[in-house]
């Protein structure tokens, strides 16, 4: 099953390396960097060369000989300053400007309305990402599934402060600004899990606001989307059923939504299919039974300052809730 595959992929080789591009946008940016870095090393080399040369010839003239009268090598100095300090850089920089800001930018800027068929809404919260698929009921968090080799339009907004949505292997970052809806294109060459993270300081847990973009083969993606749109499965086992009652009766449902139940809170992530995700708390901890139990027991331990209060639950209550949530695939 594709999900299993992606979970597997999530386990290995995840990286945020901007120089390991997996899309044409990211690749253009990376090659832009390699060219600029080459030029930079040359420039630095020239300057260091001049300094070293001056050190080599430091004794050729008596110290203090030149302070009166004509300045030695003034003409040569002017030539170098005007040539290497004015003319050459103007030409090089103008060229770079045209390449980067007129040509390359066409691939990285927001896609034209007609360029994409799938649109995804990503909403930044302190400190997690809400993900919606307009036209479907699918709502998830911190894991964005996209079809591979398909241009996807991502609309980035925020529910509170400024965040910045950034998945380096796929594209440049785009800020989530209260007064605007920003747009960028996501495109993945190959199936896989691409790690991203909030890049704009957004408060206490800025460090723990990660996101996965999971590129699946189209068929698998659509299966996933269909299942993600369905309401939550009813618990089969008694313990899980008790967990469900606890969830709906207790504080949980006032902050979390589980479609198909009475729980419709808006503060925290939608948990309808929480068990299908690979991590919890925006990549802060893996989505395993033990970690989930620890998280429910005291969310402030793994991610101090986050919005989920310590509910002072007993061990058996936690166990029931875990059993219920683990059933929500």
């Amino acid at each position: 099953m594709a999900l299993g595959a992606s979970v597997l992929l999530a386990g290995c080789g995840r990286t945020q390396n901007a120089l390991a591009p997996e899309s044409h946008q990211s690749r253009d940016i990376a090659s832009l960097f390699w060219w600029m870095m080459g030029g930079a090393w040359i420039g630095l080399g020239v300057v260091v060369g001049l300094l070293v040369w001056s050190w080599k010839r430091r004794r050729r003239r008596g110290f203090g000989a030149d302070t009166e009268g004509p300045k030695p090598g003034e003409r040569a100095g002017w030539v170098v300053v005007l040539g290497a300090g004015v003319a050459l850089p103007i030409v090089v920089l103008a060229t770079l400007f045209v390449i980067a800001d007129v040509l390359v930018i066409r691939t990285t800027q927001a896609p034209a309305k007609t360029a994409t068929r799938l649109t995804i809404r990503v909403i930044g919260h302190q400190w997690w990402w809400e993900v919606r698929y307009p036209g479907t009921r699918a709502v998830t968090a911190n894991e964005i599934h996209i079809p591979v080799r398909t241009p996807v339009r991502v609309q980035v907004t925020t529910a509170d402060v400024i965040h910045s949505f950034w998945v380096p292997q796929l594209n440049r970052k785009i800020d989530a600004i209260p007064e605007r809806t920003n747009v960028e294109e996501l495109y993945a060459d190959a199936p896989g899990v691409y790690r991203g993270q909030c890049a704009e300081f957004c408060g206490l847990q800025h460090a723990h606001m990660g996101v996965y973009v999971i590129a699946d083969p189209p068929a698998a993606f659509h299966r996933w989307l269909a299942r993600e749109g369905r309401p939550a499965a009813a618990p089969s086992r008694a313990l899980a059923a008790r967990g469900r009652r606890l969830f709906l009766g207790g504080a949980c449902s006032s902050c979390h939504t589980i479609r198909g139940t009475g729980a419709s809170g808006e503060v925290g992530p939608d948990l309808t299919h929480v068990a299908a995700r690979t991590t919890l708390a925006a990549l802060a901890i893996p989505n395993r039974r033990a970690d989930l139990a620890r998280w429910i027991a005291n969310a402030q331990h793994a991610k101090p300052g986050n919005q989920m209060p310590d509910l002072r639950l007993t061990g058996s209550q936690v166990g029931a809730l875990v059993a219920y949530l683990q059933g929500l695939r």
Binding site: T15, N17, L32, A40, G73, W78, I162, K173
Partner: protein
């Protein structure tokens, strides 16, 4: 060739005595409290800024310790936020600007232009006292555990009351405005002094490049600070009065903050480094014994970099989703703001090559500065490529870039300058070998500290996160950076130790140990309170290398010409060509500057406590202080 040593005639000796008596300042603590002597003000700035440097450094070492390992808990997330916010604010507003302008500028500017003091000595003292008060004001917040915690650029809405209900950001707003008053006064002071108080003959084509740099920085401060004040005023009103400048729900705009902040914030970067260029352009001629190559181009470059710096602000906002056609204006300016820097870099290098470089400690620091500045500059150029900027902005790549600039291009020359002018200020020589050792430790340390940041940035590590997970390839680099941080600190301690030891036990320096090019080397070390026994004759930008003019000074002293020993006076000249226009009486010591600063501190404290009525009363107190200040006219002395 100090003129005051061994005056030829008894008449000259008698004139010097009269100058002594006219300019002598009060002994003891009171003398320092009421001083208007630019040299004393400069030293006060020096000690204070070094203290803030220590604070900011300690904060950065704590940050590095926390980040040395993944998932570590050396400090809590909230403490970490306060640490990096205070580190940025301290280093920028309370160390580098007051060090390069307040300390170096105040001490050296009048000496280099052959003046006896700044144009407005009491206002000069006021700048210092306000600066000190604002620093104490801001650091009180740290003591109260209410330090600014939304970063030094303090983006809204994170900094709005809804998401930051404490007093932290109010401390930020008021502290910044308070500090801006001091910087604005300094800026106005320097501009007027450079235009009006030069020695006759020092026309604009003979103004030392150090002064050009100070002029550029002063203009930068004068025009960059008001947008910041507007911004912080808006934020303070939003938080405390209920306005809605940044409140999106009621028509405000969060990007408004960013525009105004960066209209200040980018010129700010050049304001930080241009005075350091001035230090470099003073040290290079002295230790290559050669007038700087392409003098006019370097002079204009120093002004140009600040001017164009006002046109690049939105390159800090490339990721905010502004239209491409808006961004390109700032990208184009960002590309070309490089040219003034390339001009200067090659002028410096060609002066090394065509001169006779003598690699003593100050010149080593300048060579290191050129290396660091070029490295940081080349990564800076990359940000004009909008797509690349959007990829690496807000990552450690940017941290690496601007620390190469701010530490490499501003602090290295500061260290070089401390060594270079140490003999002038103290009359003692520093120890050369420990000095060179301190350079190499700092050089290796800073590169170990900052270079890996490029790599972790490209590996995707965002800035301002209090910790990071293992397994993303960031760990070893972060450890290296932390080691580099402590190595740098060790080098700085060695540097300071060298200077302290030399101050107490160093060999006698004489008035001109380096055969220096500019006028400060033409007087004794340390300089007398009246700086020069006569208003110096100036016919070139390297006045101290014109032997005939210095001869002329001795003749003037003997004949009693341009000695001004009748009163507490200095000459005033025409702004452009420095034609002698007037002899003006100068105010002497005054108790009012510290008093005014104190009453201003009361105003700001009351604003912090939202006691606006009381603040108004305190403002009246300020007005009364000003009336008292002007009750005694210099003419009536």
């Amino acid at each position: 060739m100090a003129v005051v040593e061994a005056p030829e005639s008894p008449a000259a000796a008698e004139r010097l005595d009269r100058l002594e008596q006219i300019w002598r300042s009060r002994p003891g603590l009171l003398g320092w409290l009421t001083t208007t002597d630019h040299k004393r003000v400069g030293l006060l700035y020096l000690w204070t800024t070094l203290a803030f440097f220590a604070a900011g450094g300690a904060e950065s070492l704590l940050i590095r310790t926390q980040l040395a390992q993944p998932n570590s808990h050396v400090v809590s997330p909230s403490t970490f936020d306060e640490l990096f916010s205070m580190h940025g604010i301290t280093m920028i507003f309370f160390f580098i600007i007051p060090m390069t302008t307040g300390a170096f500028g105040n001490y050296l500017l009048p000496l280099m232009i052959g003046a006896r003091d700044m144009a407005f000595p009491r206002m000069n003292a006021l700048s210092y006292w306000i600066f000190l008060a604002s620093g104490i004001f801001l650091y009180t917040s740290l003591g109260l555990g209410m330090a600014p915690n939304a970063g030094w650029f303090d983006y809204v809405p994170l900094a709005s009351r809804a998401f930051d209900p404490g007093r932290n950001v109010d401390f930020y707003c008021l502290g910044i405005i308070f500090n801006s008053i001091a910087s604005t006064l300094t800026a106005a002071q320097f501009i007027v002094t450079i235009f009006k108080s030069r020695a006759p003959g020092m026309s604009l084509n003979r103004l030392p490049l150090f002064c050009y740099a100070q002029l550029a920085a002063a203009f930068g401060l004068l025009f960059a600070l008001p947008p910041l004040s507007a911004d912080t005023i808006f934020l303070f009103l939003d938080r405390n009065v209920g306005t809605h400048f940044f409140d999106v729900a009621l028509g405000g705009k969060s990007l408004l903050w960013q525009h105004l902040f960066w209209i200040f914030g980018h010129p700010e970067v050049y304001i930080l480094i241009v005075p350091a260029f001035g230090i470099a352009t003073s040290i290079i001629p002295a230790f290559t014994q050669r007038k700087l190559v392409a003098f006019p181009l370097v002079g204009i470059a120093e002004l140009l970099v600040v001017f164009i710096g006002f046109g690049v602000w939105a390159h800090h906002m490339f990721a905010t989703g502004l239209p491409t056609i808006s961004l390109v204006f700032f990208a184009a300016a960002t590309a070309m703001v490089v040219i003034p820097s390339t001009i200067q870099v090659f002028a410096w290098c060609m002066s090394f090559v065509t001169g006779t470089p003598q690699f003593k400690t100050p010149l080593l620091f300048i060579a290191g500065f050129i290396f660091m500045f070029v490295t940081g500059g080349l990564t800076g150029i990359m940000f004009m490529a909008i797509p690349f900027d959007q990829q690496v902005t807000d990552t450690y790549f940017v941290i690496a870039h601007f620390h190469y600039i701010i530490f490499g291009a501003a602090v290295f020359p500061i260290f070089g300058g401390l060594y270079y002018w140490f003999p002038k200020v103290t009359g003692k020589l520093y120890l050369e070998r420990p000095g060179q050792l301190s350079f190499w430790i700092v050089f290796v340390g800073t590169n170990l500290l900052f270079f890996p940041m490029h790599i972790v940035g490209l590996l995707g590590m965002p800035r301002r996160q209090y910790t990071y997970p293992d397994g993303l390839g960031w760990t070893s680099y972060n450890l290296a950076e932390t080691i580099g941080g402590f190595l740098t600190a060790a080098g700085i301690l060695l540097l300071l130790g060298n200077l302290v030891y030399s101050y107490r036990k160093g060999a006698d320096a004489g008035s001109d140990p380096w055969h220096g090019p500019t006028l400060e080397w033409a007087t004794t070390s340390p300089p007398p309170e009246y700086n020069f026994p006569v208003v110096p004759k100036v016919t070139s930008a390297y006045a101290n290398w014109d032997r005939d003019d210095r001869e002329e000074d001795r003749r003037r002293l003997a004949e009693g010409l341009f000695v001004l020993e009748q009163g507490h006076e200095q000459v005033e000249v025409s702004a452009v060509d420095a034609r002698l226009s007037d002899v003006v009486p100068m105010p002497h010591e005054s108790p009012w500057p510290p008093l005014l600063a104190a009453s201003l501190a009361l105003v700001f404290s009351m604003l912090l406590l939202r006691k606006f009525g009381v603040a108004g009363v305190m403002a009246v107190l300020c007005v009364l202080t000003l009336v008292g200040w002007h009750s005694r006219e210099p003419a009536e002395q």
